[in-house]
Point group: D2
Chain length 333, copies 4
Amino acid sequence: MRFFSDNAAPAHPKVIEAIAASNRLDTAYDGDELSARLDGAFSALFEIEVRAFWVTTGTAANCLALAALCPPYRGIICHKDAHIEVDEAGAPGFFTGGAKLILLEGAGAKLTPDAVAAACDRIRADVHQVQPAAISITNATEYGLVYRASEVNVLGDLAKERGLAFHMDGARLANALATTGESPADVTWRAGVDALSFGFVKNGGLNAEVLILFRTELADEIAVRRKRAGHLLSKGRMLAAQILALLEDDLWLENARAANAAAQALAKAAPDRLVYPVEANELFLNVTADEAVRLRGQGVEFYEWGPGEIRLVTSWDSDARAVEQLAAAIAAL
Amino acid sequence: MRFFSDNAAPAHPKVIEAIAASNRLDTAYDGDELSARLDGAFSALFEIEVRAFWVTTGTAANCLALAALCPPYRGIICHKDAHIEVDEAGAPGFFTGGAKLILLEGAGAKLTPDAVAAACDRIRADVHQVQPAAISITNATEYGLVYRASEVNVLGDLAKERGLAFHMDGARLANALATTGESPADVTWRAGVDALSFGFVKNGGLNAEVLILFRTELADEIAVRRKRAGHLLSKGRMLAAQILALLEDDLWLENARAANAAAQALAKAAPDRLVYPVEANELFLNVTADEAVRLRGQGVEFYEWGPGEIRLVTSWDSDARAVEQLAAAIAAL
Amino acid sequence: MRFFSDNAAPAHPKVIEAIAASNRLDTAYDGDELSARLDGAFSALFEIEVRAFWVTTGTAANCLALAALCPPYRGIICHKDAHIEVDEAGAPGFFTGGAKLILLEGAGAKLTPDAVAAACDRIRADVHQVQPAAISITNATEYGLVYRASEVNVLGDLAKERGLAFHMDGARLANALATTGESPADVTWRAGVDALSFGFVKNGGLNAEVLILFRTELADEIAVRRKRAGHLLSKGRMLAAQILALLEDDLWLENARAANAAAQALAKAAPDRLVYPVEANELFLNVTADEAVRLRGQGVEFYEWGPGEIRLVTSWDSDARAVEQLAAAIAAL
Amino acid sequence: MRFFSDNAAPAHPKVIEAIAASNRLDTAYDGDELSARLDGAFSALFEIEVRAFWVTTGTAANCLALAALCPPYRGIICHKDAHIEVDEAGAPGFFTGGAKLILLEGAGAKLTPDAVAAACDRIRADVHQVQPAAISITNATEYGLVYRASEVNVLGDLAKERGLAFHMDGARLANALATTGESPADVTWRAGVDALSFGFVKNGGLNAEVLILFRTELADEIAVRRKRAGHLLSKGRMLAAQILALLEDDLWLENARAANAAAQALAKAAPDRLVYPVEANELFLNVTADEAVRLRGQGVEFYEWGPGEIRLVTSWDSDARAVEQLAAAIAAL
């Protein structure tokens, strides 16, 4: 029973089929017929003209976007527990050429408008202090909380007011949307988001993520930066194929709903142990060291998230019986 | 009849099968069972302990290696037509943090020891001029020529003598080895090579390349740099699977032989038009603009490589009939 | 009555004389006779063989050192109020190629061994999290506190134990040493410091700072990095001249003592207002907005350091009468 | 008799006087009264509103400008013997974050419009090849040749047509203008130049160079980049003082004329030995190894510029008698 990470789940069978079906001679890089369909497919999904770039990792999607939104000599406001700060090996520093992450506190890894405004106000407007150029939020957050469109919108207005670009790390955006039922458009560009890292790997994909540009004028720069970072695959059609397969019949949304449902099933088993409300596919539970040992003893695999806290992540293929078993095991602790 | 590039060919069916077979829950990143087998598999192939890192592009393999071999403030000696200089969008500058490519002339994109020694001698040993830290060669070269082990060895000795690290871009190393019959060990570490970009994508792979470190002490740094560049895929097992499939029963060598044989068939059709001897799977032909038009008229697709010159590239799956047809068409020009 | 910053003070007359005296034809860059004397002069001062590099700013001294001590993909542990974090426009990110500053809390901008050890322990030893490579402390700190040799030594031992390099920003090291009477050697290399930014500009110099390397094997790299950053002046002799003038007869120490004495005189006038003990030449005072207005009304210039707090900085040339006047004004608030 | 480099000459006495006179308490960095006068002084000289930034080296002036004119992922077209390529330790790569220098041939280190146009045409307009973003020329060139305003203008038009920014390294612009008698405006912004490194150090200054922005909208970025590179001196007034002293009564032009006159006196002594026409203050002479030894024997110091070639550089203070002696010595070879 593996509840380590949705990262580790297999790809959806349709994704594998799509890769196999795409395995024919075609133009290299992104000149093929499948890659050519991405802009259109995502423009339809987001109800506006966007530019869509496949990449193979969320780190690449995030950091290519940040490099285009923030010059080397400025900073990006984000949560102190944001993935870009904590788990990307300093990739933002590499891709931007040394821009600074300006770290904020905030419950559940969420940025609040007050915290952002205060951070901006603390910075003297001179050449000695690094001036912010962008905000980056993660939706769903690293602790599985969801920003509603209205919340994003307030941050988007603030960004505009302060002259900041706005990036969303949507590694688990699908889970967020599956929870809120809001439209992709409402929670992104209509709320002021300029660029979105749209995650597919944790949600049934094999190794395809998408960088969506709502500011389409950045597309040429992103295309060059992607190549320059070694992220322009010569058989990119196999990435496009995965993405198109997941978009078809809203498979991406179906997958996210399945993962979320598994998380809710687990949440119900231990309402008093939840560190955060469960709004996506991650659970953080208060569990003593002793209890953790007992869970492991029953074959459950998970991260210890700190003293007395564990993380469980469900995924699109979470086995119903395993979920049930785990729920029972938690309830019985 | 597409002879644009081996980049564009499909993957070998066994590679697709291997990806499908690897599609199960396992530890993320490179903690899975397949990735764990790479070091051993390549150590066997190279007859010495190596460290092997999957990446998705040759640019990533090349530039991660160069970043580990050359500090930002020094330079890398390479041919002026080397892929790292001409076709990687400045990626070496990005990965190294601004190191300089020191460009040399040389017939057929080969570096000669004399040219390398002369380049070193021209550089004043002071802080004003960028001092070289590494040599990088491509085997087979960008013009389809092959370095024999003895040639590499002379460059390797020179590198050692001058205190330079030695990198080989082996995007088409398989084709080179298929031609010479030399051992992987002889043409690399036994000849002084420190790090090798070993290409699989042009040779039946889908999107897996391998960075081989003969200086295994660089492995920790490469592991971090790979992650930091966004090149640590969460389901890396699908890359390992491709590579292991191509290593099995020397499929990689078989593929390269097929591509080389197709190139030889074409070469025989036009011995007087060859700009370079055909030693791998690329042909450069003297063809007038008029003749080029006629070839295209018969459905042949290829690059114009300059005035009066075209490039043809064969691949592991080059269709025998298409090759025959093209050979006839060239002969008939 | 300017108590803004020691930055703004004039240079000592002997420094100007030395510049004028050095104004003759000599070998360019650092090949001149004066520059050649620096290594020896500082080796004598520090009682060990060191390498000494003139630069024109503390930012350059700090960041050249950090770039040599920390690779782009690792991090530097420092206080969250350290000058390198707060007031150098992100220069560490620029010079290192994107290394991360790992920010710690600590009273009076001092790093404690416990805080450093805890920070190291919090970082998972994997490729996803940025691993620390160095510690940097400021002595005297940004709040005018002094690290004694014994305190530095504990941090130095910890650095060694954790495999970290150790940098000291000594923009006001002279003031620290003037207070403690400890030897330059004891508070630096004997306590484990690898590289020191030794400040002269705030202490009677015009535009000369010195980067001292106790790890002399880094000298070649620093020499190249200095040039590459545009910091190798062609008439470097004028920098060497300043430094040698300040070293002569311990003028640097005399200057620091004068600045410290002025600070003590002010401190005595307002013992209850001090935010920190006054150990060097900076005072942070609790002063209401109203009181601040009254001080300004009497012609005193200073920084507001936050709500209800002001900063006063004395310098080598602080006028005795101005100090007395200000002391009286503060006492009378 | 030192004819090594104008770099090594002393500063003009008025420059030293001005430094001494500026040595008083004032606002730090560039907030002082002297620094504040630079924009106005250079706007008057160039007959248009400019922004003027003091820095301490030509490398800093050049590379700050290039970093603002060229993003990390593009390239700068320059001569293969340009100072930025040959003698700045790779500083352009450091300041730009890895942009590429695209190197052209050209007699006397001059770029011709044809060479620039051909270089642009050779580059495929795709993401694989580095696209140019700027042109940089040196005036007077590294071989002492002068671009007339009309020549610069043709390059300026070409730059505009190709969408390239235009930088001039004017380390010896004073010498060029002293020769042609053209106006500073005509040879720079009126001819399409966007940013100019205006040299004072080789022409009577001590350590002050000026970066002139004709595209004033870049000023904020340059101000931050200057700080971030450690080039914002806290007592910048001493740099401003030097520059203002050299501007007064056209002392800069007078100095350049003196250096040029000395060069002409030497040129007359050896008209048949000149490798290039002497248009500024540098001479390149065909001199056998044997003859070089004899010159050195008479106490003349100079660079050997290659086999059978030496470089002599005169400066503002070149001693008339030494020049005469050297002229005689050369004539007598």
